[in-house]
Amino acid sequence: MKGVWGWLFQRVTGVILVAGLLIHFIIMHYSGPEQITYQYVMERFSNPLWKLFDLAFLISVVYHGFNGLRGIVLEYVSSAKLLKALQIALLAFAFLLTATGVYILTA
């Protein structure tokens, strides 16, 4: 069997996204653009629970999005060489985004 864990993780991150996006939207929307200052963000980051939330949210968003793109590539690209190149590119880009996010969260 192949792809079982990948599929399961896509579902799990999907559930995390439903809850996470709700929290994310509420914060972004109701705190108002003028309130989201460096101070405000740093205050949030000093709380380990928010850090954990942001980390889980980041990983879920990147995995869910890029695994979805990979699915499209697997379906629409028939050339084996192009398929491999695109999958490597997607993986690299996903890794770069995760690394950037983790760096910001932990710096």
Binding site: M1, G3, V4, W5, G6, G71, L74, E75, S78
Partner: protein, 246 residues
């Protein structure tokens, strides 16, 4: 009796490079079937019109085609259900996503090849009992819907995942895998899951429900595929020990 217009997508491999549309007018009763219209056209208007039909009673699956944009059986579709007034044109096209041979006839070989890949037969090497291998009514009920599949190809050729990925097993083959995996008399669940839980297998199903929408036997194909997905996850979670033994 009304005068109905049939707009048929035709293709003659000897003369056409691309398919062309042709209109036919037929006197029919609204309670007759689309297949009756096709037979009338072939008998009395144009004998070169090519289509498959065998049993004409919704059992063989030969006359599957795209009727007014939706896959279905011509023998199971009444004129009054696709043409609400005599002015409404009845559009007929071959099944999509399969190689076109002539007019409404497509090459079903790629479809049947996918079916062969899931080992579509009972595998049980235990010594046979004196009489038949018994099955309880409850066990029979689990696979009852999947057994009613007539393999007409409506589902697989309506699946957007199959349109994009011709290597994808497709809803029909996955349903066939379900039919044997969940058959209590069968002993080859692991070998079949191995073939089905693959990049071009289960995970290409995105629950689009086109297959359920068009199935002339009204089988909940997407639901059956979901059960296969969940079985794969359960097997993966409980470890691969049982897989390695076989």
């Amino acid at each position: 009796m009304n005068n109905y217009t049939f707009r048929i997508k035709r293709f003659d491999p000897e003369n056409d490079t691309v398919p062309r549309w042709e209109e036919f007018h037929v006197e029919m009763a609204p309670t007759e079937r689309v297949l009756d219209g096709l037979i009338k056209i072939k008998d009395s208007v144009d004998g070169s019109l090519t289509f498959r039909r065998s049993c004409a009673h919704g059992v063989c699956g030969s006359c599957a085609m795209k009727i007014n944009g939706k896959n279905g059986l011509a023998c199971q579709t009444l004129i009054k259900d696709v043409s609400f007034s005599p002015d409404t044109v009845i559009t007929l096209e071959p099944l999509p996503a399969l190689p076109l041979i002539k007019d409404l006839v497509v090459d079903m070989a790629p479809f049947f090849e996918k079916n062969d890949k899931v080992l579509p037969y009972l595998i049980n090497n235990e010594p046979p009992p004196e009489r038949e291998r018994l099955q309880s009514p409850e066990d029979q009920h689990t696979i009852l819907q999947s057994i009613t599949c007539i393999m007409c190809g409506c589902c697989t050729s309506s699946c957007p995942s199959y349109w994009a990925d011709k290597e994808y097993l497709g809803p029909s083959a996955l349903l066939k895998a379900y039919r044997f995996i969940f058959d209590t008399r069968d002993r080859s669940t692991e070998a079949r899951l191995e073939r089905v839980a693959q990049v071009h297998g289960l995970w290409r199903c995105h629950s689009i429900y086109n297959c359920v929408e068009v199935c002339p036997k009204e089988i909940d194909i997407t639901g059956h595929i979901a059960k296969l997905k969940s079985l794969s996850v359960k097997k993966a979670l409980s470890g691969r020990k049982s897989l390695k033994k076989k």
